[in-house]
């Protein structure tokens, strides 16, 4: 138990002021800089995959592989098969980066876990970007497995799979930004879960099903969904001679949505952290 009486401590008696107002302001501790703290948050979040391996890494992959097997009986080849494989791959990103991240931030906010970060001198952007980057990284193995499996299943060429190196981070940025914003803005964790699930369902239905048969309104909804541009970018690369300009435009849309949604998420974090 406490063995050091306060008043025998060196300096304690000298500063027994009534009200700290009369003393000069003490030096503040250092502020954590953006990149090092982003790296620290990223690393810590990434390590969570060790504990929560199944939901973070496997569920989405199983789901997408299942969808493709199911669609194999319905869809022939050609354009439709490309949509299915590209859509199923991006659904992995939507499931993890949008749905799971929305749930994570929703629960963190509701349980008071944000207090931990809010009482550390860390830039809000580092917390949001670190978590978003980690969740985007969780999607990498699942997206690759889904893409390779889909190409083999539907007999599509594997040659342009490298484009996923750009598609995963850009679609990941867009969707994890949305997920983080949903999780941090939702008034209750159930709402965050609901928003995440709805976003994921939308990405699933509008991404996997070939767009040619969709009614106009649904197509409009499809165009408004950021994951669509990830799907399109990837689907285009299956063409015998891909139109790289369109691929670039699609990816630029993802990047733009990513920047905006991550900025909104950072603002939402700031708002959620101090009430």
């Amino acid at each position: 138990m406490s063995v050091v009486p306060a008043d025998v401590l060196a300096g304690a008696t000298a500063v027994q002021e009534r009200g700290a107002g009369r003393t000069a302001a003490a030096e503040l501790g250092p502020r954590a800089r953006l990149w090092p703290s982003l790296a620290a948050v990223y690393r810590a979040q990434l390590s969570r995959a060790r504990v929560a391996r199944i939901p973070l890494l496997f569920v989405a992959t199983f789901q997408s592989v299942g969808i493709m097997i199911m669609m194999r009986g319905v869809v022939g080849g050609g354009g439709e098969a490309r949509s299915v494989v590209a859509g199923a791959s991006i659904v992995v990103v939507a499931y993890v980066a949008l749905n799971l991240l929305a749930q994570y931030f929703g629960q963190l906010r509701a349980s008071g876990g944000l207090d931990h970060y809010a009482t550390l001198p860390v830039p809000p952007a580092a917390v949001v970007l670190g978590a978003a980057a980690a969740y985007a990284s969780f999607t990498v193995p699942g997206t690759l497995v889904t893409a390779v499996f889909g190409c083999v299943l539907f007999g599509l060429p594997l040659g342009n799979l490298w484009v996923l190196v750009a598609v995963i981070p850009l679609a990941g940025a867009a969707l994890s930004g949305l997920g983080a914003a949903c999780g941090l803005l939702a008034p209750r964790p159930e709402h965050a879960t609901l928003l995440g699930q709805l976003g994921m369902s939308a990405a699933l239905l509008l991404g996997v099903l070939p767009p040619d048969h969709m009614p106009g309104v649904v197509r409009l909804a499809r165009d408004l969904l950021p994951s669509t541009y990830g799907v399109e970018a990837y689907a285009r690369t299956f063409a015998p001679r891909p139109d790289w300009a369109f691929v670039g435009i699609d990816m630029a849309v993802c990047a733009g949505v990513g920047v905006v949604s991550l900025a909104v998420a950072t603002w939402a974090y700031r708002r959620a952290a101090v009430r």
């Binding site: 138990m1 406490s2 063995v3 050091v4 009486p5 306060a6 401590l9 060196a10 300096g11 304690a12 500063v15 027994q16 009534r18 009200g19 700290a20 107002g21 003393t23 000069a24 302001a25 003490a26 503040l28 501790g29 250092p30 502020r31 954590a32 800089r33 090092p36 703290s37 620290a40 948050v41 690393r43 810590a44 390590s47 969570r48 060790r50 504990v51 929560a52 629960q107 963190l108 349980s111 008071g112 876990g113 944000l114 207090d115 931990h116 970060y117 809010a118 009482t119 550390l120 001198p121 860390v122 580092a126 952290a273 101090v274 009430r275």
Partner: protein, 324 residues
Amino acid sequence: MCAVRGLTKTYPAARGRRGAPATPEVRATDDVELDVRRGEIFGLLGPNGAGKSTLVRQLTGLMRPDRGTVEILGHDIVAHPERAARILAYLGQESSALDELTVSLAAETTGRLRGLDVRRARAERDAVLDELGLAPIADRPLKKLSGGQRRLACFAAALVGDRPLLVLDEPTTGMDPVARRAVWSAVDRRRAERGTTVLLVTHNVIEAETVLDRVAVLDRGRVIACDTPAGLKERVSGEVRVELVWRERAPLEVAEIAALRERAVESGRRWTLRLAPEEARAAVATVTGGAAFAALDDFTLATPSLEDVYLALGGAARQGLVKA
């Protein structure tokens, strides 16, 4: 070190929803004034719902007060809540931000987010984990630990990256005596070596009496007393606490027992009485003799604790302070 003036926070009335009744406006902290001195362990004691955590959230910049000022080491925390994070370390009641990290990574990451570079963060992490005896479980995720161990791991994270003020919200909840001792010796070491100040939230009376230099007693958002534990207990030094536990029910047919009932706080088979010493002697004589003794399961006589002080000061909650 830390001066609080006129701090007031009111939670607005909530409209009733289906299944949840409307709640009236609640004044969580009501014109709170405090002065915490450098190097002391200052306690906030009160039952659940007394406003302790709300007060702490305002001191740590997590919540904006409606009125009042908070000044820590010369910095105005109400105007610049972001400065709080650079002055103090806060151990909240929730560990959900760290739950899925290993003990070692939780401490290291927290240090890095307190502005330490990788080398310093790792060195401090190792030192703190050794100091608290956490090294053997450093590689286990917090989620897999017992409640007390998890709490100790969060405390370790709070210590990485030296801060002149530690704000600890019920730090020892669920800990065994060994872990508690580790916490208090770590606190004492920092106090002796660096003059670290500690603001401790607790509803544990025994802990408050043994570790605190001074304590503010909170009730319904107000500070109803602020003194050393000994000073507070002197206010009720004329009283003795008598606790009676009956086997099945109190023998109310005995006239003296029926008379005692009016002064007792009943909780199931247990009666708690605060009596003058001679009254206590008479009460003990009554219950240990004759018909009453047959109905008696157990009794204790004790000098007053901070709980008695709380009740004597007009504290509203009959229960809620813990004696363990």
